[in-house]
C-alpha cells in the first residue's frame, strides 16, 4: 500500500503505467500531486513521472507555438516565443510556485486555480494527449469537458496555441484578495480580434466561476460585432454571469463572484487597469 515512484524516459511508457494502475498519479511540477500526498491522500499509491525531454520544449511553428507539458510558468514568462502568455503565467503563485507549476498541470487545475488554462481557452489552444505510443490532438475545451470522467488517467505531452491576432487582442485580468500571488476571486482571459473597429470571433474564459476554467459563450455572442466602448459592451456585461454557478470557497462567495464578474469584465473590455 505504501508509496512507490516510477520514472520513465518515454512519455508513452508513463501513460501505460498510469493506465494500468488505479492508484497511480502522474507527477508534473508537484503542486497538486505532492500536496495531495502531504495531506494524506492514501488513494495515491504510485507516482508516475517521465524524463522525456520533449516535455521541456517551447517551439515556434509559424504563428503557432508548442509548449511542452513540463514547461514551468517561469519558463513561459521568460521565453520570447510565449511572451503573449507572460501575464497569466506570472499571475500563478509566487516565484517558487512558478518555478515548479507546469503548463500540463494547470490543465488539471480546479477552482480557484487555472489562470493559465483560461488564457489557453481564450486562445483556442489544443492539447496533445498521449494515447498508447501515439498522440491525439484535442481542442482544450473538449479536453476540459471530458475531464470530469477521465481524470487523472490522462498524460498530456503539451499544448499548441496560435499567437493572438494582435498584441492588444489578448487580454487577461485577475482579481485577488492579496496582491501579488493570490488565488482568483475571478480571472478573465479574452481574445478579441478586431475587424474594422468591431470585435469578430471573440473568445472569453473565466477562472473560479465554475468548478474549472470555462468559456463564457453568452458574453462572446454579445461581443460579436460590438465596439469596445461603454455602450458597445453593455450587452456583454448584462450577460456576464448568465448560467454560471460560481463556487463559494475561502476566497469568495457565490454572491460576491457574481457581483464582481461584470466589473472585472468591464475593466478588461475597456482596457482599464
Amino acid at each position: 500500500m505504501s508509496l512507490q515512484v516510477r520514472t520513465f524516459p518515454q512519455l508513452g511508457e508513463a501513460a501505460q503505467a498510469l493506465a494500468a494502475d488505479r492508484g497511480a498519479r502522474y507527477l508534473g511540477g508537484g503542486t497538486f500531486v505532492m500536496r495531495a500526498i502531504n495531506e494524506g491522500d492514501v488513494s495515491i499509491t504510485t507516482i508516475v513521472r517521465s524524463t522525456d525531454p520533449a516535455l521541456q520544449q517551447i517551439r515556434s511553428d509559424g504563428d503557432r507555438i508548442h509548449i511542452g507539458a513540463g514547461v514551468t510558468m517561469s519558463q513561459v514568462a521568460a521565453s520570447r516565443d510565449s511572451d503573449f502568455l507572460a501575464a497569466p503565467a506570472q499571475s500563478v503563485g509566487g516565484p517558487a510556485v512558478r518555478n515548479m507549476a507546469t503548463v500540463g498541470g494547470n490543465l488539471f487545475a480546479r477552482s480557484p486555480y487555472g489562470d493559465f488554462t483560461a488564457a489557453l481557452l481564450a486562445l483556442d489552444a489544443t492539447v496533445h494527449v498521449v494515447e498508447g505510443a501515439g498522440r491525439r490532438e484535442t481542442p482544450l475545451e473538449e479536453f476540459l469537458r471530458q475531464g470530469a470522467q477521465s481524470e487523472p488517467r490522462r498524460v498530456v505531452a503539451g499544448v499548441s496555441v496560435r499567437r493572438p491576432h494582435s498584441r492588444d487582442a489578448f487580454r487577461f485580468r485577475k482579481l485577488t484578495r492579496v496582491k501579488p500571488a493570490g488565488a482568483s476571486v475571478i480571472a478573465i482571459a479574452a481574445h478579441l480580434p478586431n475587424a474594422g473597429g468591431r470585435v469578430q470571433g471573440a473568445r472569453v474564459a473565466y477562472v473560479s466561476m465554475g468548478p474549472r476554467p470555462t468559456r463564457v459563450q453568452a458574453v462572446e455572442r454579445a461581443l460579436e460585432g460590438a465596439t469596445l466602448d461603454e455602450s458597445g459592451i453593455a450587452g456583454a456585461l448584462a450577460a456576464a454571469t448568465e448560467g454560471l454557478d460560481p463556487p463559494t470557497d475561502a476566497i469568495a462567495s457565490y454572491w460576491y463572484r457574481r457581483e464582481v464578474a461584470p466589473a472585472v469584465l468591464k475593466r478588461l473590455l475597456l482596457g482599464i487597469q
Binding site: 508509496l3 500536496r35 495531506e39 507516482i47 509566487g94 516565484p95 517558487a96 501579488p180 500571488a181
Partner: protein
C-alpha cells in the same frame, strides 16, 4: 518502505542519503540530512516556509519529490552565513524583520534568489520575490525594508 539512494550538493558539500519513496525534499533534508533550516508550514505550496534554492532558483521543498533532487545543488539558510552573517541575515537582524522567526528561513532564501539575480531591486520587485512567503507577525514592511537594506549593503554583488 522502499528506500532510494540519492546524491546532491547541499550548501557546497556533497550529500549522499537514502530517502523514502515518495518522500518530499523538505522531509528528507530535515530527517535524513539533519538540516532543519527549511520549515514545514503548509505542505500545500501556499506559505513558502520550506523555500530552498535548487540550482539557484527558489523551490518549495515540500512539493518536490526528494529523489528529483538527484545531482542538484541545493542551498538552505543553514549555509547562508560564513564566518560572518550574510548581509541579508544582518539586515533582518538589525531591521527587526524576524519576529517569531518561522517564516524567516524561507524569506531569506526567496530574497537571496532575487538579489543573486538582481542586486538592486525596486521595492515592487522585492514584494514580488517574497509574494509566495507568508509572514503572520510583521506585516511584511520590516522584511521588505531589510531586503532593500541588504541590497544597499551589496548583498547581491557579494554572492553573485
Amino acid at each position: 518502505m522502499a528506500r532510494k539512494p540519492i546524491q546532491f550538493r547541499l550548501n557546497g558539500k556533497d550529500e549522499a542519503v537514502f530517502v523514502e519513496e515518495g518522500q518530499n525534499l523538505l522531509d528528507a533534508l530535515r530527517r535524513q540530512v539533519g538540516d532543519t533550516s527549511p520549515k514545514y508550514g503548509c505542505g500545500q505550496g501556499t506559505c513558502g516556509a520550506c523555500t530552498v534554492l535548487v540550482d539557484g532558483e527558489p523551490r518549495l521543498s515540500c512539493l518536490m519529490l526528494a529523489e528529483s533532487a538527484e545531482g542538484a545543488s541545493i542551498e538552505t539558510t543553514a549555509g547562508l552565513a560564513g564566518a560572518e552573517l550574510h548581509p541579508l541575515q544582518r539586515a533582518f537582524l538589525d531591521g527587526f524583520a524576524a519576529q517569531c522567526g518561522y517564516c524567516t528561513s524561507g524569506m531569506l532564501m526567496s530574497a537571496k534568489a532575487l538579489l543573486d539575480r538582481n542586486p538592486s531591486p525596486t521595492r515592487e520587485q522585492v514584494v514580488d520575490a517574497i509574494s509566495g512567503n507568508i509572514c503572520r507577525c510583521t506585516g511584511y514592511e520590516p522584511i521588505i525594508d531589510a531586503i532593500l537594506d541588504a541590497a544597499a549593503r551589496g548583498a547581491g554583488r557579494r554572492s553573485a
